[in-house]
Assembly symmetry: C2
Homo-oligomer: 373 residues x 2
Amino acid sequence: MNITSFNPPRRILMGPGPSDISPQVLQAQSRPIVGHLDPLFVGMMDEIKFLLQYAFQTSNPHTFAVSAPGSAGMETCFVNLVEPEDKVIVCINGVFGQRMLENVERCGGEAVVVEDSWGEPVSISKVEKALEQHPDAKVLAFVHAETSTGVASDAQALCALAKQHHCLSIVDAVTSLGGIPLKVDEWGIDAIYSGSQKCLSCVPGLSPVSFSQAAIDKLTKRKTKVQSWFLDQSLVMGYWSGEQKRSYHHTAPVTALYALHEALLSLYNEGLEVSWQRHADFHQQLTQGLSELGLELMVDESCRLPQLNLVAVPEGVDEAALRARLLNDYNLEIGAGLGQFAGKAWRIGLMGYAARQENVTLCLAALNDVLKS
Amino acid sequence: MNITSFNPPRRILMGPGPSDISPQVLQAQSRPIVGHLDPLFVGMMDEIKFLLQYAFQTSNPHTFAVSAPGSAGMETCFVNLVEPEDKVIVCINGVFGQRMLENVERCGGEAVVVEDSWGEPVSISKVEKALEQHPDAKVLAFVHAETSTGVASDAQALCALAKQHHCLSIVDAVTSLGGIPLKVDEWGIDAIYSGSQKCLSCVPGLSPVSFSQAAIDKLTKRKTKVQSWFLDQSLVMGYWSGEQKRSYHHTAPVTALYALHEALLSLYNEGLEVSWQRHADFHQQLTQGLSELGLELMVDESCRLPQLNLVAVPEGVDEAALRARLLNDYNLEIGAGLGQFAGKAWRIGLMGYAARQENVTLCLAALNDVLKS
């Protein structure tokens, strides 16, 4: 096999993630590697923690990045906070709610499913009813921003309900963090996970998480060991905690964390509110342009995610062929539909560094070209 | 908090990993990001598989990189291949054997421990006895190269014993891959995991693994679901398999895989035998120099790892202060002792790109300076 170095072209990433990455963040990764217990690196980890607390709007000390993708961040929340036979209310309105259910079952938890149609937000009233019917439920789990459908659910209202019914909340913020308002402390979120490769515009492979004191309390009072050694937060805390000597747990992905530091710093310098507004503004521009092209957005305006737009494939259009043309002729990636929407929708992302004028303009113009020819 | 971009100095990494990384591998990471389902990226994944098969010396189709560090690679092997109540013979002669035991227990397996002193290899005769005493054992698990002690165990003999007693073998090759002879197919290894940041001299955060057909058979015949969704190989196979349409499982760490591709390509171009010899040669030079400095190697020559040298801290020397001086004055990192050897030993690594003349020369000269002053 004749193999040479991999030299990819510059793509414009407007799918469901990974999103575009700024040159600064990409270059941060190629800085010299230092040891994962080097005092300089430990200092950088403290800064990452501070920057993540800002991004999540929390003062939770247990805020850090899991050394693996968002799916592992999800699993981190479930394996630490769900013990065998714990009753967990799981809201499903897309692929990632379904994945939460898988996690509950694999932890030996007892799942109560609250189901909503794909493309709809999680129903507050259905969740309220489930909480009333299951007063012994210990956890409420839902997806804030469903990457498979482009739908935002009302995390604030859902977490308030959880609190009212003495449940911990586990929130999937993979696609929401940095793109739409998210306030962990104000909303009373107990455990939250995100992904580095969405609105943070960092490289994929890291999953920021944050645990409230109530979540830590549940963890420390467990009767059984966490089933995953790698994700056991009672062990990982010793490595990320600034209060004591760092104890070795695993080797952190040093250079990926350089990138996360740079990406979070960029968000911090821009300001969360400015970032949210930028996503909203370019979303407005994109949706108007799509509508002028005769393309239909499939999610109601009231719960539409600005950073991820579910667009109906017009009748008679070969959706995969269109995506291939965008990729091959314009170096532009948009996403395919997932699950129930496979073949029926595209997902156009405006995440993080991708939410910018040149991307929106190119995307609309390229779509116009390929739809007309 | 006043935070600026992180700009580390150039360190020389001669600890237990992460190891030094070539400029080519570091730069590979800052190439433009492409989507994780981009046809170009999928082609690169196929090349990584080929290059990993070469590095592992295997034709196993199920050979790929777990999107997380070596600890997750370890967990991948255990959660997939150990079902509740499976009897597993676990060999412990250092930190990582101990971690294997943690994994067996968290999978609900029944562990039979074969213990050897730290600094000694796994005893073939003890393992043989354990296999005879436990004919119902299903798995034999051991560490090929103990990173905590610098000891190599006889993987070939241990795997032959496992086969003879109808056990699957799980082998930790985190520190061995690329540094000493390792032949997965010839030795009949069933499941093996490694780390990207040791003798492969790639960035930390990935764990190459390979499963034999017998391992796949055990996985597909499981009565229970794998307890980890993220590490469930029956799901991951759909993403890394070249034979069918890639199905989405999680977002691969795209740029870290660029680095792995480049690092594996470098090993392929150098040739495994040449790499093994290079590690052996610089090890000879290092040990001779250490002995001239009056420093004692703590592991018997017969089972010493060339890539990781356990050096006794001389009486009266403040080991942490010495390491700090090497780091601060020479930008040179050597490792502390771990577990039983904490405070008593240093670990000097010669891993991958770190096994080179300038590193050995600097290390010996710097040690000479700081020990004499």
